[in-house]
Amino acid sequence: MARTPPSADVVPDQAQAVALARYRAPVEVLPDPHQHLAHHFDTPKQQFDAAKVGMWIFLATEILMFGGLFVAYSVWRANHPEVFLYAHTKLFRYLGATNTVILICSSFTMACAVRAAQLNQRRLTVFLLALTLCGGVGFLCVKAVEYTREYRDGDFVGVLNIYQQAVYGKNAAKIHIGEEPQTHAGASTQGQGASATTVALVPSSATRASSPAPSPWPLGLEVSKVTPAPPGPAGLRAGLRIGDEDLPTPKPFSLTWNELPPFAKAHTHQFFQLYFLMTGLHAIHVIVGMSLILWVLIRAARGSFNQYYYTPVDLVGLYWHLVDLIWIFLFPLLYLIH
């Protein structure tokens, strides 16, 4: 479809017509709205809406998949709040916060990219998609730094976790359960300063014995030597109780390994397991999202999209927002515990 000036048919002679043609607006070929219409849909709108409905349903399945992990997290946090309070200090909060900012920004550029695609601005779309991709790369880089440092500290996944090794591992006989577990690279640098300030808050064996509760878990010999503190939400309070003296409430972050009741020590490694499972699954989703963004980026660069057909950009955008949103929940739940 060519845009024709109204004066085109009244040009009297050819020379004039040629001269006039130079000043005409460049011929713009409008895309065919039905170019991408599949045979079983009536209108492009119906097709677009169907794709969007399908994507939203798929996103629901993703949320439910993560939902399993969130439930596991809730169960353990409700049962062992002191574990979460203690263990989360080992994570690198500022790196997590950086990643949050990175992902939110990339979500913003993604939303802009969708808008640019809707407006048929190809170069802008490609640029914004590339920015989004950079956000994904940045996120993964920061995450890699985090994982590396956590590995160095021994706060790693599975049998590589020093807390698991300390309680259940082969070297459980060497490391006493009452001691701070040694990291892979030597002594832990985290939490040491805090423990110095809270020495006075370490409960005496007498106060511990005042709140006995049988441990239902088949733990090792070291664990059973110490009377466990009561499990459940009351565990933290009971573990930190100093008697009837009127002392200031201890800061939550001052909790040290020594102050953890043995029952909690037995579960400390699970915080890190959950952390790695949740962030790991999320990282896989980031990688999938980045692959999808790369795909639409290449298609956008080739000019596959226009104002009538931008469905893939829109759907990939939705997926990327979901990836972002899951991180928005993961960050406070894992890094910012009070």
């Binding site: 399908g54 309680v167 088949p218």
Partner: protein
């Protein structure tokens, strides 16, 4: 044109029934293996699914018969002088039977075969919303299923022929289809591979569900509001909702189980501080709704067939439609009734028990409505209706014994006994399988354009029905007397029940074989099917049998799917033809 009715002139000037085009139909329009394997046509994908699903049924069924054969004697020794090997053999076989039947037959059977074939045609559409996704779902099923079967079969064969271990290494699964921790975290069998297989099969199920929901939302034609849809679509919609919402939870559960076995994360493993009961919660959060994935589409088929063969409008349309959604919803809230003896809190037990009873209400609503549809109907006892009546009968037994199991005190007594086995086989086998076979008979003329032998089909139905009841009814009795499930040997006092059950199982196997024989025979020798052999008013019958690839030459106009007044039997056609033109002005679709 001669008419069986009293008004010979009534067809004058009306369009004749659609005839097959010279260009052929979806079976013949393109040829070659490639045109099948890469097809995006929902009908061909449905037929490929049918081949796969029926093969899985054959595999699972053969192992069921093998199990029953072992149980014929109270202390069968398959491998003389080595009872432990016999038990291992038995464990591998019952796991294979359960896992293959659940993940590869009962869950995909009706949605992926009958749903895939019928759903777009009932909507008057050319295809499902996402044809490529549909094909991807099929290949997920094939890939996951082949892997799954390979792993499970390996275990059985390894026990039978130990030399094979040197050929392909250890394998097999002996946890039962539930993968219960802590056993599944410690057993030496191939839990990880089998779990991966089930995970991929779950993906297939999710993709089908997404496709169906989007299709029903977006492809309904003008004039077909939500409450003018055939009830099978309501049932498939409710099923798809469960598939989409529950299957991902199974996915994450299986991933966690894999992580537990590979990384030892200590989420489920009590030896690392984990909680095996959490596994049960996760597992049943999927697997209880999954039993409604199995039963709801069967209920949809029952609703379709019973109305057509009663020549009467379905009774209580709105209630049947709503009860599908109610079952889907309540089905998410009752998983705890599998865990009454797992150490759940008494409060949770009571709540789950109450909610379990609540499921009986929508189920009973359906059953009563089906019965009322029959009441004073003009009943044509063709094969599909025969199967459907059998399915309702069996569902009544299976459903009511579900209430026994839902009540706390009784469940403690019969938990994990043959009573449970009998209960879920009455529902899964009795209802789902019989409705599936009934549905196959019902849509077979549409699928292949051939009629089967009615008399032969009815006799086969009776054989299967007798076999089914012989097999499982005695299991209620021995279960109530305390015979536990999943045991390879048993006290001699239960011998008579087990022997009746085994004889019944082989009778049922014979019945199923006769069904297969009849259907295969019809492909070659059956009479040509008319476009509408049963006189249904839903849209899939308003095209040729079999339909062309694009389903309809002209887009059909939807009406009330259960209004049969516009169709009359014509003996020349051996089917029903329209006696009034379709309604001119379609009612605008409800938003």
């Amino acid at each position: 044109m001669s008419v069986t009715g009293a008004h010979p002139g009534i067809f004058d000037g009306l369009p004749a029934a659609p005839r097959p085009e010279p260009g052929g139909n979806y079976l013949t329009q393109t040829r070659g293996l490639r045109s099948w394997l890469l097809t995006l046509d929902h009908k061909r994908i449905a037929l490929m699914y049918m081949l796969g699903v029926l093969s899985a049924y054959l595999l699972g069924g053969c192992f069921a018969l093998a199990l029953r054969a072992i149980l014929f004697h109270h202390n069968t020794q398959v491998f003389a002088g080595n009872p432990a090997r016999t038990w291992e053999f038995y464990n591998n076989m019952f796991t294979l039977h359960g896992a293959v039947m659940v993940f590869m037959f009962v869950i995909p059977a009706i949605p992926a075969v009958i749903g895939n074939f019928v759903l777009p045609m009932m909507l008057g559409a050319k295809d499902v919303a996402f044809p490529k996704l549909n094909l991807a779902s099929f290949y997920c099923w094939v890939g996951g299923g082949l892997f799954f079967c390979f792993i499970l079969l390996k275990g059985v064969l390894n026990v039978a022929f130990p030399a094979l271990i040197h050929l392909w290494g250890p394998g097999g699964l002996d946890t039962g289809w539930t993968f219960y921790t802590p056993y599944s975290t410690t057993t030496n069998s191939a839990v990880i591979s089998a779990t991966l297989g089930a995970f991929i099969l779950g993906f297939s199920s999710i993709l089908t569900g997404v496709n169906f929901i989007a299709s029903i939302h977006m492809l309904r034609p003008r004039g077909m509001g939500w409450f003018r849809m055939p009830l099978l679509l309501w049932a498939l919609y409710a099923t798809a909702v469960i598939q989409v919402l529950a299957t991902p939870v199974l996915g994450i559960t299986l991933l966690l189980l894999i992580a537990e076995r590979t990384l030892h994360v200590g989420i489920f493993d009590p030896a690392l501080g984990g909680d095996p009961i959490l596994y049960q919660h996760f597992f049943w959060f999927y697997s209880h709704p999954a039993v409604y994935i199995m039963i709801l589409p069967a209920m949809g088929i029952i609703s379709e067939v019973i109305s057509v063969f009663s020549r009467k409008h379905i009774f209580g349309y709105n209630f049947i439609a709503a009860s599908s959604l109610a079952i889907a919803f309540i089905g998410f809230l009752v998983w705890g009734h599998h865990m009454f003896v797992s150490g759940q809190s008494p409060l949770a037990d009571a709540v789950f028990s109450l909610l379990t009873f609540a499921v009986a209400v929508p189920s009973a609503i359906k059953t009563f409505n089906w019965t009322m549809t029959l009441y004073k109907g003009d009943i044509h006892l063709k094969t599909p209706l025969l199967y459907i009546l059998m399915a309702i009968f069996l569902f009544t037994i299976g459903g009511l014994t579900g209430l026994f199991l839902g009540s706390l005190s009784v469940d403690v007594q019969v938990h994990d006994t043959y009573f449970v086995v009998a209960h879920f086989h009455y529902v899964m086998m009795g209802t789902t399988l019989f409705a599936f076979v009934g549905g196959l008979y019902y849509w077979w003329p549409k699928m292949f354009g051939r009629m089967y032998s009615e008399n032969f089909a009815r006799w086969a139905a009776v054989v299967a029905f007798v076999g089914m009841n012989l097999t499982f009814f005695v299991q209620f009795i021995m279960g109530a007397q305390g015979m536990p499930r999943r045991y390879a040997t048993y006290p001699a006092q239960f011998t008579i029940y087990h022997q009746i059950s085994t004889i019944g199982a082989f009778t049922m196997g014979l019945g199923m074989f006769l069904v297969l024989l009849n259907l295969l025979h019809s492909l070659k020798f059956g009479k040509k099917a008319p476009p509408n052999p049963w006189g249904s008013n839903s849209l899939e019958w308003q095209t040729t049998s079999p339909p062309p690839t694009e389903n309809f030459k002209t887009r059909p106009v939807p009406g009330d799917p259960y209004d049969y007044t516009g169709w009359r039997y014509v003996s020349e056609e051996e089917g029903y033809v329209r006696i009034q033109p379709p309604p001119a002005a379609p009612v605008p679709a409800a938003p």
